[in-house]
């Protein structure tokens, strides 16, 4: 709870005034977002046990059946190879969430570490890291992902790598900025006087103060990772076909838009709703954790 403490240090006065005003709104947002995200995480974890069919089980004689409605065997219909769409959508959630979490954690780790180092030490180290940031950031993001995937080949691990390649940068930037301002604060000087090493200062004193912003970034980053993975799968440079993902399902559905509307509808809807839930949660988190916005009662 270190970060909450420093937060309250800054805004103790505003807290009592603003919270009651925010609370009802916050409630709805956090609640809805939280429920949606929780639902997908649960589905992702217990997916295999609730999926009615094997997502890769083909039934060539039962291709392109329209949704049969809730409770019927193929409630969301079958796809172009007779596979059950509901099951594929459930398994697809596993991949999307796995990729999203992995990308956010890895890129967050790299970004926060590099940002803190960059901001704390300054000088040459800062210069080099910032140049790296500029170069990598100038790439159109999708292009970098496509090229890396072409180079590495299909695969879950490669996909995560390709997505991390640019996503560490927002963390790096924000963390660097905040480190720069925190570096000169009293409690850092105090720690230095007490003999703490640089590593200790960074890990014990600075980074905990940055977590809340990183958390907000991370939440929104998770949403964009899901969309990015779907985009890469859509363009055909994602995971091999034996792993069902929402993006690949959408890509396969492209030639069936007018004949089998349920093929592109459900995976796309899943992406949309999941991302919506994550964004709602992110909004709520930002409202709780970002003091500057609280001052004006604004909600982004």
């Amino acid at each position: 709870m270190v970060f909450m403490q420093s937060l309250t240090l800054e805004s103790a006065t505003e807290k009592s005034v603003v919270w009651p005003r925010l609370l009802p709104r916050l409630h709805v947002k956090a609640f809805t977002g939280g429920v949606i995200v929780l639902l997908f995480i649960i589905i992702g974890i217990i997916g295999p046990s609730i999926a009615p069919f094997d997502p890769n089980k083909q039934e060539l004689t039962a291709m392109m059946k329209a949704p049969a409605g809730i409770g019927a065997p193929h409630s969301l219909g079958t796809d172009n190879l007779g596979r059950d769409i509901l099951s594929r959508v459930i398994y697809g959630s596993r991949v999307s969430l796995l990729v999203a979490f992995a990308v956010v954690f890895v890129s967050g780790f790299i970004g926060i570490a590099l940002g803190a180092i960059s901001g704390f030490f300054g000088g040459k180290v800062d210069f080099l890291i910032q140049k790296l940031v500029e170069v990598v950031w100038a790439f159109p993001p999708l292009l970098l992902g496509i090229t890396i995937m072409a180079f590495l080949g299909q695969g879950l691990f490669n996909l995560i790598l390709a997505l991390v390649a640019q996503r560490w940068i927002p963390y790096c930037r924000v963390v660097r900025g905040q480190t720069l301002s925190l570096r000169n604060r009293d409690f850092v000087t105090a720690a230095q006087c007490l003999g703490a090493s640089n590593r200790q200062i960074i890990t014990r004193h600075i980074i905990p103060n940055l977590i809340q912003t990183s958390l907000v970034i991370g939440t929104f980053a998770m949403a964009s990772s899901i969309i990015a993975e779907a985009s890469l799968s859509f363009l055909g440079v994602g995971v091999p076909p034996e792993i069902p993902t929402w993006g690949t399902m959408l890509a396969d559905a492209r030639i069936y838009i007018s004949t089998a509307w349920w093929l592109p509808l459900f995976p796309g809807l899943c992406i949309f709703v999941t991302v919506l839930g994550i964004n709602l949660l992110g909004d709520a988190l930002r409202d709780i954790l970002d003091p500057r916005l609280k001052r004006s009662g604004a909600k982004i």
Binding site: Q58, L60, T61, M63, M64, N80, L81, A150, G153, Q154, G236, V237, P240, P241, E242, D252, R254, I255, Y256, I257, S258, T259
Partner: protein
């Protein structure tokens, strides 16, 4: 709210009414939605069927293959003879004129063949048009002598519908780029009016051309619009934005059949689809390769996924292709039990891991069809996995010879000689790496044999060896669905060529 399209249509209708009332014949225009693209102004700068077809029509064609007669017909080259196994003489028609009025002569043919197809570094057509040609000379104004390095019996299948004859004079006067861009002209019944690479190409009929006079109902203007996305092509076809739609996926045909003004024309393509296997473990054993062939239930795939729009191949080629033998043995029927026995014989009674690679979006339903093959292979004792690398990577690896097991097609197989040499002759390409001296001998013989009966025999024997030894499992030929507006009377060709002169537009 009136959409622009409807407004323009209404305006055109009124204009047509007025024109016909005044006795003025309105221009007939046909728009065609195609899937291949024309990317360059250089007629020799690409090697795709669409390009060959369009430019052949603009410049001749040199000669053409008639599927009705199952033989070659003269056009710009009226007739020909084989003087000796390495020398061909072509006699040109005297009636073909360029757009500026000058006659197409032997000099133009020689120039096109030697300087543009073979000599020009930017040409991508050498291997497909003149692989064994070493010299071409003009014997007189309308006679061309072509010399090949080795006897090439199927030479016509390379030259006909492919050799594009452009004007030497324009080339000399304006230089290559300007000649291609601004002074593109040919002796054919249509002239190039507009070309926007990657988007569209517009041809206009030349009313004074003898072919045009013989085909008065051929459209006056033809617009090729590049539409690679099937959904868009079909929707444009339903909206009458295009009157001919190339290659409609089978599952979309109901929408078209419901419309009385449109029809579907299925045509057997000349592209053979197969599973290639490199003779390295586990495919070094013939039994394993044969097991793969017996494992695939082609009939079910054709019936369900392709909705019967494909014809099964029992051998490298099918009916209508040169050298087809309906009695070819053996037949690799669907029989997973036989597959299991063969695998056991080869020492893989407990199964064997294989990775099948396929392109995505390059051939009709490629990913889907191969996805359906995976459980079939698994049921026959394999442990199969599917990989879908992007085309650039896959093709590079296939050419390098590093893909052990893949799904592929080989187009333009009117005459199987080129394809068989390419994939199965020792040393020609590393795509499969198969080597069989007996097969090589037969393939060499057929290439140099000018007697059609003997040639067919050699081809049959070669194909029998191939089917039995199974370096590839020959699967099917797609039936390509063309969408045609009922206003247009046209029989599409088995390759992707479109000759507008053969169309008849009802007014």
């Amino acid at each position: 709210m009136i959409s622009a399209r409807r407004f323009v249509t209404a305006l055109t209708a009124v204009t047509c009414l007025l024109c016909s009332a005044l006795g003025v014949r309105a221009q007939s225009r046909v728009s065609i939605g195609v899937t291949e693209t024309i990317e360059t102004h250089n007629p020799y700068g690409d090697s795709v069927s669409l390009q060959y077809g369009i430019y052949s029509e603009v410049t001749g064609p040199f000669c053409t293959y008639s599927y009705n007669k199952a033989d070659f017909e003269g056009r710009l080259a009226e007739r020909w003879k084989v003087e000796n196994p390495t020398t061909w003489i072509f006699y040109l028609s005297k009636n073909y004129k360029f757009n500026d009025g000058t006659t197409v002569t032997a000099e133009d043919v020689v120039h096109s063949l030697m300087n543009r197809v073979i000599g020009d570094p930017q040409s991508k057509q050498k291997a497909s048009v003149a692989p064994s040609v070493v010299k071409a000379e003009a014997l007189d104004k309308f006679t061309v002598k072509v010399t090949t390095d080795k006897p090439t019996a199927p030479l016509l299948s390379f030259l006909c519908d492919r050799l594009i004859v452009t004007s030497k004079a324009a080339f000399d006067k304006y230089g290559r780029d300007a000649a291609d861009r601004e002074h593109m002209m040919g002796g054919g019944p249509y002239q190039l009016k507009e070309l926007i690479p990657g988007q569209r190409l517009v041809l206009q009929k030349r009313p004074d051309h003898p072919d045009a006079k013989n085909h008065p109902n051929a459209p006056d203007e033809v617009i090729y619009r590049i539409m690679r996305e099937p959904e868009q092509r079909v929707t444009a076809f339903l909206n009458d934005e295009i009157q001919i739609a190339q290659f409609i996926p089978p599952h979309m045909r109901q929408r078209i059949e419901k419309n009385a003004k449109l029809r579907i024309a299925p045509i057997d393509s000349v592209e053979i689809m197969f599973l290639a296997m490199q003779p390295k473990p586990p495919f070094d054993k013939k039994e394993v390769r044969q097991a793969v062939c017996h494992a695939i239930n082609r009939d079910q795939i054709i019936a369900t996924l392709l909705e019967s729009f494909a014809s099964r191949l029992d051998g490298p080629i099918g009916p209508g292709q040169y050298g087809y033998d309906p009695n070819l043995k053996p037949k690799m029927n669907y029989d997973p039990e036989v597959s299991k026995k063969l695998l056991a014989q080869a020492g893989y009674a407990n199964g064997v891991d294989v990775e099948l690679q396929t392109p995505v979006g390059r051939y009709t339903l490629d990913k889907q069809l191969t996805e359906a093959m995976v459980p079939m292979l698994n049921a026959a004792g394999f442990r199969a996995r599917l990989l879908t690398p992007e085309w650039a990577t896959l093709w590079a690896n296939v050419q390098k010879g590093t893909v052990p097991f893949y799904y592929m097609g080989r187009g333009s197989v009117q005459d199987p000689s080129a394809a068989l040499h390419q994939y199965f002759h020792t040393g020609e390409t590393p795509r499969i790496g198969y080597s069989n001296p007996k097969l090589d001998e037969l393939l060499d013989k057929e290439q140099q044999e000018f007697d059609p009966n003997k040639r067919r025999q050699y081809l049959s024997q070669a194909m029998s060896i191939l089917t039995d030894d199974a370096p590839a499992c020959f699967l099917w030929r797609h039936k390509l669905l063309w969408g045609l507006n009922s206003r247009i009377d046209y029989k599409p060709l088995p390759d992707a060529r479109i000759y507008a002169i053969d169309m008849a537009v009802k007014r």
